[in-house]
Each structure stands twice: as C-alpha cells, then as structure tokens.
C-alpha cells in the first residue's frame, strides 16, 4: 500500500515488543461471531496513474461550465475566481490542519478566521461572525433555532419566496424541535412579499421573521415592514443574504437585522456540484453573540503581552456543554471560509464592488435582450439584482438540452419547484456580451 510506510522488519519489532505473533491477535476483543472473515466486496486497488485515468473518465462524462456557458444560479454561481486562491488554500499548512485546539502552533488558521470574521462583519454590518457553518441553508435553520432560544418562542415566520431547498432544511430542523412555521405568501404581480401579507400573523408568538434578500426569484424585498412588525412585538429579524449583493445593497445591520446568514460559495469557492461551500453567520449584541452556534475566534495576548488569537466563548459549544450547547456543530467549513477571506482580500474594496456592479449591469442587459423576444415575458415587477425570472409556455427542460448541444445551459426551469413556465436566469460578471448575444440568438431560434 503506497501510503503505509511500515516495513516488515519494523512490524516484526513492534509485534515482539507487544509479545504477540500476529497483528490478528490485537483484535481478539472483537467477538468471533462479528469478525469479518471474508474480503470486503470492493473493487481492487488502483495505482495513482490508474486513479487519475479513472477520474478523467468520470469527469469526462460531465459537461462542465468551462466548456459550456451557463445561466444557472439559484444558490450556486459562476463568478470569476482569482488564480492565486487555489495556491494559497492548497498550502499544506492550511489544508492538513484541523480545528485550532492548540493556539500557539495554529496562529495561522486562527488569525485567518479572525480576519474572515471581520470581513463578514464588514459585509453584513453586524458586530460578530462565527467561523462558518455547513452552508447557507443549515445556517438559516440554526439562526431560526437561535431566535427561538433567545426569545423563548416557538413560532417562525417564513416567506414563500425563500429558496425551496433552504425552506426544506429549515422546516426539518424546526419540526425536530416542535417549532411551528407560518408562511408569508408572495404577491403574484411583484414577486415579493407585500406588507398586506404581514397582517393576521400572530406576531406576539413569533420568535423571528426571515427575509431572503434577494429572494429566490432574484428580487429585492422591502425589508422595513418585516422589521417594524416583528420588532414591535419583541421578535427578531433574520436575514438570509447573497454576499455578492452586499457590494451594492444596504447592509443587513443598517436595516436592523438581528441575525444574518448566507451562503459563501460565490466568494471564490468552486461550484463543485453544490459543495463544499460555507454558511456564514453573524449577529449583534452580547446576548445574541453568546447564543451563536459554532466556533468563534477572539483576540488575546500571550504571557509576554504579544497579540494572538484563540478559540473563544467555548462554553456555548458541544464539547463543553454537551446537550446544553447552542448547537451540535463541530467541524465547519474552515477551508471554504479561508477561500472567502482570500477572495475578499484580493478583490478588495473596489474589486468587490465591481463584481456586484458588473453582475447587476449584465443581468439587466440579458433580461432586456430576452424580453425583446416574442413569447417571453417578465412575470414579476420588483427590482432584481443578478437573477431574474421569465415566463414562456415552452418546455424549458427540453430547450436546455438542445441549448447544451450548442454549448449553453439556459436558466433554471422552476417547474421542478412547482412553478411551470417560469425560468430563473442568473448572470455574473463572468459572462460576456458576446456570449449573451449568442445565447439570445440561439434561444430565439428554439422558441420560435
């Protein structure tokens, strides 16, 4: 086995010291009845060269978005990724470390997390961030649970414009703790939740209301009415945000959010068929900060007064508090958080704004071009950021397969979420005018 360095001589020496003849004897505690006496039914070992060939074959069966142009989004985005990221994140000192339990020899990871936390605070306008969660959906579920714990209430108000998969995750987490959910319908004309929908909700029982911004359709919700009504009755405002949109949009902190979560895939992480990405999680106020789930890094000094970083507020966590912990999370998505931190650092203030600005411009350009086409219409009127929905009575799944033959993936048909005829387009700064114009021409031919 190529990763096992033990030689026969060394093995013999170890066995001699242990006073046993065979390694087999070390397993005598396992009752004979459950000892596996046959080989595992798995394919035989591959050499490195064979493994590389096998993966090339597997990967070759997938159409990748380096070879086809995509307008898919809905939680996973094709943004430009600066080349240096993989070189930094691939460094073995980061890649092969674990949670920094011994701070004196893991200052690198600890400081990078502290910087990540600061960057998330800058984006969200909140006071504190944790070190990351699994993804945006589970981060939102944990935010809703935290709101319940903080308010001692057991009702969560969810907009119907929340990403359907996120809703599914939140529902499962909440049901597991017997928390009830009330849905806010969206206005069919605007595609966002109307203030009228907020009437008739039992707000005094509500731990929080969730707003996804932009919402699943890419549209901008009016946050103020949500905030005003939930706060008036002592509940919390939880926002699920797209981090790229925060380059242009008001920060959730400015809008009065109490807990802010989101998915950080778009911050330099590969799409990778949906994972790994990271969930970010931020909040404000010492009471809520001490209820945050997950790892948190804080600044301190060493015995000589030198600045350094440690895991802190650990009395919230499972390894100390066990069943009384604020969450069961242990491993998080540290390397993806590092990726996000490197991304935001190299993009910088101006570069990051450009990403949002160009995505916005290009999304509106494509929408305008598509709307000039016979048979396509915009079902919703609210302003959007870099995703938009169009409507046409055509088989979008079939159109996508035919587009694929021409080197394109179109938008996401929303029929899979029970919304026939609708399709969700996402446009990032990575798309070019030439690609979009070509796409529009092709689609025109297919729809006509």
């Amino acid at each position: 086995m190529r990763y096992l360095p033990l030689t026969q001589e060394e093995k013999a020496e170890m066995l001699q010291i242990l006073g046993v003849d065979e390694v087999e004897e070390l397993f005598d505690d396992i009752p004979e009845g459950i000892r596996l006496r046959e080989e595992l039914d798995l394919p035989g070992a591959l050499s490195e060269a064979e493994l590389v060939r096998h993966f090339a074959e597997l990967a070759g069966q997938n159409k990748n978005l380096k070879e086809v142009v995509s307008f898919l989004g809905a939680g996973s985005y094709d943004h430009l990724v600066p080349a240096l990221i993989k070189h930094i994140v691939g460094r073995g000192e980061f890649l092969t470390a674990y949670t920094p339990y011994q701070p004196e020899i893991t200052q690198g990871v600890l400081q990078s997390i502290f910087e990540y936390q600061t960057l998330i605070c800058e984006l969200t306008g909140m006071e504190a961030s944790n070190a990351s969660m699994y993804d945006g959906a589970s981060a939102l579920a944990e935010a809703a649970l935290m709101a319940c714990a903080a308010t001692r209430r057991e009702l969560v108000v969810l907009p119907s414009t929340l990403h359907p998969e996120w809703r599914n995750v939140v529902r499962l987490y909440l049901e597991s703790q017997d928390v009830s959910i009330v849905d806010l319908p969206y206005d069919q004309a605007s595609g966002i939740v109307n203030p009228q929908a907020l009437e008739g909700i039992p707000w005094p029982d509500a731990a929080c209301v969730v707003v996804q911004q932009p919402n699943f359709f890419g549209l901008l919700e009016n946050v103020a009415p949500f905030r005003d009504v939930v706060k008036k009755h002592g509940g919390l405002l939880v926002m699920a945000v797209d981090p790229i949109s925060l380059s242009l949009l008001k920060s959730p902190g400015e809008l009065g959010a109490d807990i802010v979560v989101g998915d950080g895939q778009s911050l330099g992480n590969a799409m990778g068929f949906g994972g790994p990405s990271l969930g970010f999680f931020a909040t404000s106020g010492s009471k809520l900060i001490r209820r945050m789930p997950g790892r948190v890094v804080g600044e301190t000094v060493d015995s000589e007064g030198t600045r350094g970083y440690v895991l802190t507020l650990q009395t919230r966590e499972q390894h100390i508090r066990r069943e009384k912990a604020t969450s069961n999370i242990c491993s998080n998505q540290a390397l993806n958080a590092l990726t996000a931190a490197v991304y935001l650092s190299v993009m910088g203030k101006e570069g990051f704004r450009d990403v949002g600005y160009q995505s916005l411009q290009k999304a509106h350009y494509l929408q305008e071009q598509l709307l000039s086409m016979e048979g396509l219409s915009a079902p919703f009127s609210a302003p959007f950021f870099r995703e938009f929905v169009l409507k046409a009575a055509v088989d979008w799944e079939d159109i996508n397969l035919r587009l694929m033959e021409q080197g394109f993936v179109g938008g996401l048909p929303l029929a899979r979420f029970g919304l026939p005829e609708l399709v969700l387009f996402s446009v990032t700064e990575a798309r070019t005018k030439e690609e979009m114009d070509h796409f529009v021409d092709l689609l025109r031919g297919l729809i006509a």
Binding site: V52, Q117, E165
Partner: protein
C-alpha cells in the same frame, strides 16, 4: 530564517486605492445603478474591504501558513480525529473541471459521471459498514448524527411510537452525541462505563424501556477500546424497541475487520475527513454520510442516486425526512473519499486498520511505564493515558500538551474522554513511519522527566513557538471578535 512574533492583519496592510484584482472592462452599456435598483436599497459606501496588492495577499497568507501546524508539517496524534496523510493526487483529481466546475442544477443527463461517483461511493460505504442505503448529504460527523437521529425519530413516528424520546449515551461519548440529541428534542440518558471501559451492561438493562428511542455508541469507544459486549448490548436495545446508532469517528480501527451492521447497528455515520483521508482544512469541510438498514432506507434525506440500467438519476426516498442541507452535500470532499477507497481496495483498507491498531498498541506499550494507563488492555487505533502521575509534580496535562509544541509535535487530544482524569488521547494513525512514533515516544518520556526535574519548564511552555502561552480566559471575558479600525 526568523519568524516575527506577530503578522499584521490583512486590514493593517491596506492602503486606499490599492488593488489586487481587476475585472475585464464592462462590455455592456452601463446604466446608472439608481435606474436599476431604487436608491433606497443601495449602500452609500462599499464595504470597507482591505485594499492590498496580489503580492501582499500571497505574502500575508504565506506568512500565516508558516505559523500553522498540519499533517504536512509534522506528527499530529490528535485522538479521535485520525490525522492521517492526505494524498495529494486527490487534490488534483477533484479539481478537474468535470467535477469542480459543474452546477448542481445541470440536467441529470449532463452529470452522469458525478452521479455514478455518488452511487458507487454510497455502495462502497454500505459494504464497509455492513448496512444497506447511504445518504451523502450530511456535511460533517455531527451533521450525520443529527441526520441519523432524525431518521430514527421518523421511523418511530411512522410506527406510532413517537413517545420514544430517550436516547442512551455512554458517559465516555463525544460531546456531539448529546448535543445532537438535544437538536431533535431527545432526552439524553447517560449509561456509565464499566471497569473495563465498556458500557455497563447491567446499568443499560435498567435504563432501557418503552420510551427508549435508541443507543448511540462509538465502537471502538473514545477510550480506544472495543466493547466486547456489543452483541448483548444490541440485543438489549433492540428488545426494548430501540435502534442502535454507530458514531463512526473511530472507524479507522475496523475497516475490513468488523462491520457495524454485523454488530447490530441500524445507522452509521462515517467521518470521511477522518477514516477516508479527506483533508481537515483547518476545521472543515468534512463529510458525514450516513448508512442505514433496509428498514430505515425509506426515511433518508433526498435526493439519493438510483441506478436504472446504465443511467443514474436522483430520486427521493418514499418517507424522506426532507433535507439537511442544500444540494447534495460536500461533493468535492466525498469525491476524495471515493478516490481513497479506490486507491486502497479491500486489502488496502484492511491493512490501514491493522496498521493503525498496531501503531497504537506499540506506542501504548512503550509509554505506559511513564504515564498512567487507566485501562491496561489491548487498544484499537488509539489509547488514552492519564497525566495524574505528573500532576503530583504540579504539572497538568495541558502543560504536557503545550510542551510538546516545543518539540515540533501537535498535542494529543486532552481532557477527553471525561471519564479519565487529565486524559491524554493518542491516535498515531497508520501513515506515520515508525521513526516518528519513536521520536514522539522519546519526547513524551523526556517531558515526563522534565515534569519531575523542572516543572516550571512545562507550566510556562511553550517556549519555542511564535507566540507564548495565550490567555484564553481573557479572550472569553472580554471578547474581541473582529478587527476595528483604530
């Protein structure tokens, strides 16, 4: 080469107007932002991100990386974490665009290779665990626990036994076990360990009853010991109507040697970042797939991959609990575990476990004269010492851990499991050469001598690290969780 005591924060390197990256020029007509989004939605200033050049970013993170211990840097015997070598070829094969640059919502016909990988990995994990059906959705071990408990709960509910809300957990269990129970509304019932370190069977018999949802067990357990009563334990729980959950954190000891399914477990999670060598990444991402019995398969989160003829497709199990995260889990992480299994084959995986167990026993044998060994019996892939002999000299396990840093080693897991006073949990793994094990043994012996001769050397350790011992109490008392512009 010298190393500065501190590295400036990336924000402290910032200079207004400096840039590290430039987008291509906008190639569509520019429209004033206020015409596209009402002014009321817009922020006045972009977020105050650092303004640094690409070189500064590279140098910054390179300097940070040099202040970090990883498996690539040196021995990392962190018990229960299985810090084995992470083959570099896995980084290469999982960054192929055909895996890294595919979108989760592409038509299934265009991602058959990805689905094939998922399907086969699920099958392999079923073979290794001796169970039937897999979900790859959970993102980490604790997430797998949560998912498994949700499945167990749904199973009981389906049988109109929703009153089963008690989960039995040994006092030696990982903290995630009780924390996961709390997240599904289960009451934790703790079962004590017996004098051999296993579950106290008599106590277990007294604890099970009509409200028992199940038992969560790590086997080998957190003491590194295989619970030889496992079959009896399984019968007791099953006879009471409960199910058995296998915490797979210690699966590195049993691959090809024994299978949780054969032991009587109904649900297993694997920590792919431990047993199957996906890099730990400074704390993640991991992957915590669960494998369940045929009876529990209909409750798994969806979608799962099904094979029909030579095509693969996503399907949702009949009574699926729903989703525990978006999309299909940490795909690029579990793709590395797939590569690991393919590289090793059945014989290789068995050798991995045999070698991990041999290494641990060898180290335990050579250290037990110098450090107290509370459970003196054959261990599996890890073992737990106690620092009580050193405590007599005023030296705590924490001090021993810090002193190890001075010798270039990462410390073992300390103060866990809680059933051992001043615990030192050592997991060498199979990928370390014997010379490294011997060096570590020598250093541990030397530290034991230092504890007697010069306790202060230990209580003030570490001495050779970029920063000295850090004040953790101060960090918790006065939390500074972000950088503020001076």
């Amino acid at each position: 080469m010298t190393m500065n005591k501190t590295v400036p924060l990336i924000f402290e390197r910032s200079a207004p107007g400096r840039r590290g990256y430039r987008l291509p020029d906008l190639d569509v007509p520019a429209v004033p932002v206020g015409d596209l989004i009402p002014q009321d939605f817009l922020r006045e200033e972009p977020p105050a991100l650092p303004e640094v050049s690409e070189l500064e970013v590279v140098r910054h993170y390179t300097q940070l990386s040099r202040r970090n211990h990883g498996v690539d840097v040196g021995f990392y015997p962190l018990g229960s974490c299985t810090m084995k070598y992470n083959p570099r070829v896995h980084e290469d094969v999982t960054s192929l665009p055909g895996l890294a640059a595919i979108h989760p919502y592409q038509p299934e016909e265009t991602v058959q290779g990805a689905l094939e990988l998922m399907y086969n990995l699920g099958q392999y994990l079923a073979v290794i665990s001796g169970l039937s059906a897999t979900t790859l959705q959970p993102a980490a071990g604790a997430h797998g626990e949560l998912t498994g408990l949700m499945v167990i709960k749904a199973y009981h509910a389906k049988r109109n036994e929703n009153h089963r809300r008690e989960m039995i957990i040994p006092d030696s269990a990982h903290g995630t076990n009780p924390a996961s129970c709390a997240m599904v509304g289960y009451k934790v019932v703790e079962v004590p360990s017996d004098e051999r370190g296993g579950v106290d069977v008599a106590a277990l018999k007294a604890l099970v009853g009509p409200n028992t949802a199940g038992l969560m067990l790590t086997n080998p357990n957190t003491l590194g010991l295989f619970d030889e009563n496992i079959c009896e334990i399984a019968d007791i729980v099953h006879d009471a109507g409960g199910l058995l959950y296998y915490d797979g954190a210690n699966a590195n000891a049993i691959m090809g040697i024994a299978r949780p399914g054969d032991m009587g477990f109904d649900v297993v999670h694997f920590n792919l970042h431990k047993t199957f060598s996906t890099p730990h990444g400074g704390g993640g991402p991991g992957a915590g797939p669960i494998v369940v019995s045929q009876e529990l398969a209909p409750f798994l989160p969806g979608p799962v991959v099904e094979k029909q003829g030579d095509r693969y497709r996503f399907v949702t199990p009949e009574h699926s609990i729903g989703r525990v995260r978006s999309f299909y889990g940490n795909f690029l992480v579990y793709a590395r575990a797939y590569a690991y299994i393919r590289s090793h084959g059945p014989e290789g995986l068995k050798q991995v476990s045999e070698t991990a167990v041999l290494h641990a026993n060898y180290m335990m044998q050579r250290l037990k004269d110098v450090y107290h060994l509370p459970y003196d019996r054959t261990c599996m892939h890890e073992f737990v010492l106690s620092g009580v002999w050193q405590k007599e000299h005023g030296v705590r396990t924490l001090d021993i851990a810090k002193r190890l840093s001075d010798y270039g080693f990462h410390a073992p897991t300390v103060y866990f499991p809680m059933v051992v006073e001043e615990a030192i949990m050592i997991e060498p793994t199979e990928t370390e050469p014997k010379s490294t094990l011997d060096q570590f043994i020598d250093v541990m012996k030397r530290i034991a001598e230092e504890a007697q001769e010069d306790p202060e050397l230990l209580t003030t350790a570490p001495h050779r690290t970029p920063v000295k011992r850090l004040d953790e109490a101060r960090a918790a008392r006065h939390p500074v969780l972000r950088w503020e512009k001076p």
